[in-house]
């Protein structure tokens, strides 16, 4: 069984979709092919992969309550391709948005479902995730923690000769478990989607979010954008101003 997992984020790197597909692959059996859809140049290559596949998983960010425009262009081409080649894939979807509520992905899910009806494909359902950007940040934090653990372990060996300093590993374990907890909702539904892909069954539309209270999420989101805007300079260029068109 071949599953094509398509990362539909237009970003070159550090995108949440890449992280979610990495997790989804852990729960998906059979042959897995990862693809990246960023522009029209990717279309032919991805469509070629669909010829002998049984399942496709779209992983995409929510843009203005719907599917990003570059993905719509691919879907139009895929509809024609699947009809011409009598291809009837199972289609699943992982949608993520920057807001806290996973349910805000519902219009996107409906659009993918309607696409399946038009293209003669089998809609398998999907997972809609709120706080996708922040969940991706937990991945980055985890990677930094691993780096620090390795560094501190080396220093510990050099300074004291102890390979497993207890406090260091307990701290790492506590932090890792906290980050894991934030991701539990998404992980649970990725496991269900993996089972649905194996059976070729209907998952339904499942919505989840980063597992922290909304008011904390909003506070962190605002702080996140303040810091980024400070580094990128936007805060000094009329950050919240009602700017007029140049002409």
């Amino acid at each position: 069984m071949k599953t094509v997992l398509i990362n539909c984020s237009p970003k070159k790197r550090f995108c949440a979709s890449q992280y979610f597909l990495f997790l989804q692959k852990l729960f998906t059996g059979g042959k897995k092919v990862s693809e990246k859809l960023r522009n029209q140049a990717d279309h032919a290559r991805i469509l070629d992969q669909l010829k002998d596949a049984q399942t496709v998983v779209f992983c995409l960010p929510l843009y203005v309550d719907g599917v990003p425009s570059h993905v719509l262009r691919f879907m139009e081409e895929m509809e024609t391709f699947c009809r011409q080649n009598d291809i009837h894939l199972n289609v699943y979807c992982i949608a993520n948005n920057g807001f806290i509520e996973g349910r805000q992905n519902e219009p996107l899910m409906q659009i993918i479902e309607n696409f399946c009806s038009r293209a003669g494909l089998i809609w398998g359902g999907g997972v809609g995730i709120g706080g996708g950007v922040m969940l991706n940040v937990t991945r980055i934090v985890f990677e930094i923690q691993i780096g620090l653990l390795v560094l501190n372990t080396v220093l510990s060996v050099i300074q004291t000769g102890v390979l497993f300093p207890k406090d260091l590993w307990i701290d790492f374990g506590e932090n890792a478990l906290t980050l894991l907890f934030f991701n539990l909702g998404a992980l649970f539904y990725f496991a269900l989607m993996g089972a649905a892909i194996r059976k070729g069954s209907y998952l339904g539309k499942k919505y989840t979010r980063i597992l922290i209270p909304s008011f904390i999420f909003i506070l962190f989101a605002d702080i996140f954008f303040i810091i980024i805007s400070l580094f990128e300079g936007g805060i000094f260029r009329g950050w919240l101003a009602k700017k007029e068109p140049a002409n």
Binding site: V64, G66, P68, S69, Q110, I228, P245
Partner: protein
């Protein structure tokens, strides 16, 4: 700031340009001759209300953001906007700010240009009942997201009806 402005965003053939221009203060033709959003958030964090890509959509968020009445004319695509129209909307997120707030009991971004009156969407082309329902829901969500007090979706069977509904 110019308010009370009616803006029409459309993807129909250029033969309708003059008619559409006569019905609004600013007409935006979604002709597909521009790049899609790269998801960089630079229009929030680096050059506010401006895209880093120097094409005709570079400041489109300022035009859409100032529209008190936004009318979108689009071909149906799976119960949503055509790719050309969606491209313009994706490139216009600078009409909001990176800060968060609650509208309609859900999290959204605060509005750079304040609230608007009407969001009206005119849909043409082949469409199923399921797609109509998706479109109604999508526009309702867009209206909350972009701060429109009212929203309306009109389905037309023929473009000959277009002038009458604008």
């Amino acid at each position: 700031m110019v308010k009370n402005e009616k803006v029409i965003l459309y993807d129909v053939d250029r033969q309708y340009d003059d008619m559409i221009a006569s019905k609004c203060d600013h007409a935006l033709a979604a002709d597909g001759k521009y790049a899609h959003c790269q998801g960089c958030f630079g229009c929030w964090t680096k050059h506010p209300a401006e895209c880093f890509m120097k094409d005709k959509l570079q400041q489109v968020c300022r035009i859409i953001g100032q529209a008190n009445e936004l009318v979108i004319v689009t071909e149906n695509l799976y119960g949503g906007y055509s790719a050309a129209v969606k491209n313009v909307l994706d490139r216009a997120i600078g009409s909001s700010t990176p800060f968060s707030t609650y509208r309609g009991k859900q999290m959204h971004h605060t509005l750079r240009y304040g609230k608007h009156d009407l969001l009206k969407v005119v849909v043409y082309g082949d469409i199923t009942e399921a797609e109509k329902n998706t479109f109604r829901y999508l526009v309702e969500r867009n209206a909350i997201n972009e701060g429109h007090a009212r929203s309306e979706v009109v389905f037309i069977e023929d473009l000959a009806e277009l002038e009458g509904v604008l």
